[in-house]
Amino acid sequence: YPLHSRAGDEEPGMELLQKYLENYYGLAKDGKQFIRKKNSSPVVKKIQEMQKFLGLEMTGKLDSSTMDVMLKPRCGVPDVGGFT
């Protein structure tokens, strides 16, 4: 039997969000499916951290204005956390 995808799995932008938070906001790369915990407190906090840093409304959700900024060209240096 094919595996049924969970509700929300195909929500656009989730992969981008995961990469963005990992690359620029120090979200742990623990190999787990990000989508399953997108509403979890740590992820919401990370989204809010990103929104605050980028001067966006801190909704904690992947709204259109957040998505717009994430799609814009940017510097590859992380915005927060340690730099190696």
Binding site: Y24, K52, F53, L54, G55, V69, L71, K72, P73, R74, C75, G76, V77, P78, D79, V80, G81, G82, F83
Partner: protein
């Protein structure tokens, strides 16, 4: 700054452009990088010289995909470049993604804006959350290149690492607040002169080059700010400024153009030509302006003459220009700046200030320009 605040332990740094993008002529890349370094050179004691071979402090390269630092580029878009904090080896280096279309204008990705940002990292600045800052991480294609300047946040960041540049006594090149000793000494220099002075909602603003001192009667100490930190579109080294209180608007003049601001807001539809006010085409700039809120007249001073503008009729009055010295006896020198307060006009010329009583038509006090700073 980066964690641990890494910085260069010397003020003279070397850079080398290791390879070039095919998008631009080599000379253009050379000149853009030089210009980007100058942005930081102007606000710090740092100086730069270019090496053509060997290891430089800042190695600049264009590359695509994986390029030897385990942080691969991602093709066109998104990541434009990255750079490393000060230090040995790869540290201090700046890498540009050559899958971008690098340009000198805004048709592609503007190399100057990105290079100035990346070199900020090379000198020790981390990203800023201030959306006006050059060190904000997201590329702003709308930046007006002709009026580019660092934000107060950028300047304070880099000066926290390296301090201000060596300053001449009359030029406040240190944009920080009055809590720092450096502008204290500049603002109390006996040689201090101003480009323009105006009131703004009950405060006094004294403009000089890229900065202004903001003096409120409520607080004894003036504060120093970058003009761009309040009004990003306004020019530096302005010629004149005045407030029309019943319109809650300050007008700013430079050359044959003028701008309008209300508090922090820059007004749409500006800059306009000064000739739209009724000044003749032969006037290329004004030296100073002051508005009398009681009589609702604004005076424009140009060399030894002045024009008078009727704020009610919004037109220049007939019978002008007239000689300044005839109607303002005692005001004999060219006027640099002027403002009105407490029923007096205050005229600034070099380091001198004249308090003029418009009813008695005479100079009532001769002062130093910086008497408002309680030096």
């Amino acid at each position: 700054t980066f964690p641990g605040s890494p910085k260069w332990r010397k003020n003279h740094l070397t850079y080398r452009i290791v390879d070039y993008t095919p998008d631009l002529p080599k000379e253009s890349v050379d000149s853009v990088i030089e210009k980007a370094l100058k942005v930081w050179e102007e606000v710090t004691p740092l100086t730069f010289s270019r090496l053509s071979e060997g290891e430089a402090d800042i190695m600049i390269s264009f590359a695509v995909g994986e390029h030897g630092d385990f942080v691969p580029f991602d093709g066109p878009g998104t990541v434009l470049a990255h750079a490393y904090a000060p230090g040995l080896g790869i540290n201090g280096d700046a890498h540009f993604d050559d899958d971008e279309q690098w340009t000198e204008d805004r048709t592609g990705t503007n190399l100057f804006l990105v290079a100035a940002h990346e070199l900020g990292h090379s000198l020790g600045l981390f990203h800023s959350a201030n959306t006006e800052a050059l060190m904000y991480p997201v590329y702003k294609s709308s930046t007006d290149l002709t009026r580019f300047r660092l934000s107060q946040d950028d300047v304070e960041g880099i000066q926290s690492l390296y301090g201000p540049p060596p300053a001449s006594p009359d030029v406040p090149v240190v944009p920080t607040t009055s809590s720092s000793p450096e502008p204290e000494s500049l603002m109390c220099s006996p040689a201090l002169s101003f480009d323009a002075v105006t009131t703004l909602r009950g405060e006094f603003l004294f403009f000089k080059n890229r900065h202004f001192w903001r003096k409120s009667l409520r607080s004894p100490e003036p504060s120093l700010y970058l003009i761009s930190s309040f009004w990003p579109s306004l020019p530096s080294s302005m010629d004149a400024a005045y407030e029309v209180t019943n319109r809650d608007t300050v007008f700013i003049f430079k050359g044959n153009q003028f701008w309008a601001v209300r508090g922090h807001e820059e007004q749409a539809g500006y800059p306009k030509s000064i000739h739209t006010l009724g000044l003749p085409e032969t006037v290329g700039k004004i030296d100073a302006a002051v508005s009398d809120k009681v009589k609702k007249k604004t005076y424009f001073f140009v060399e030894d003459k002045y024009w008078r503008f009727d704020e009610k009729k919004q037109s220049m009055e007939p019978g002008f220009p007239r000689k300044i010295a005839e109607d303002f006896p005692g005001v004999d020198s060219k006027v640099d700046a002027a403002f009105a307060a407490f029923g007096f006009f205050y005229f600034f010329s070099g380091s001198s200030q004249l308090e003029f009583d418009p009813n008695a038509k005479k100079v009532t006090h001769v002062l130093k320009s910086n008497t408002w700073f309680n030096c």
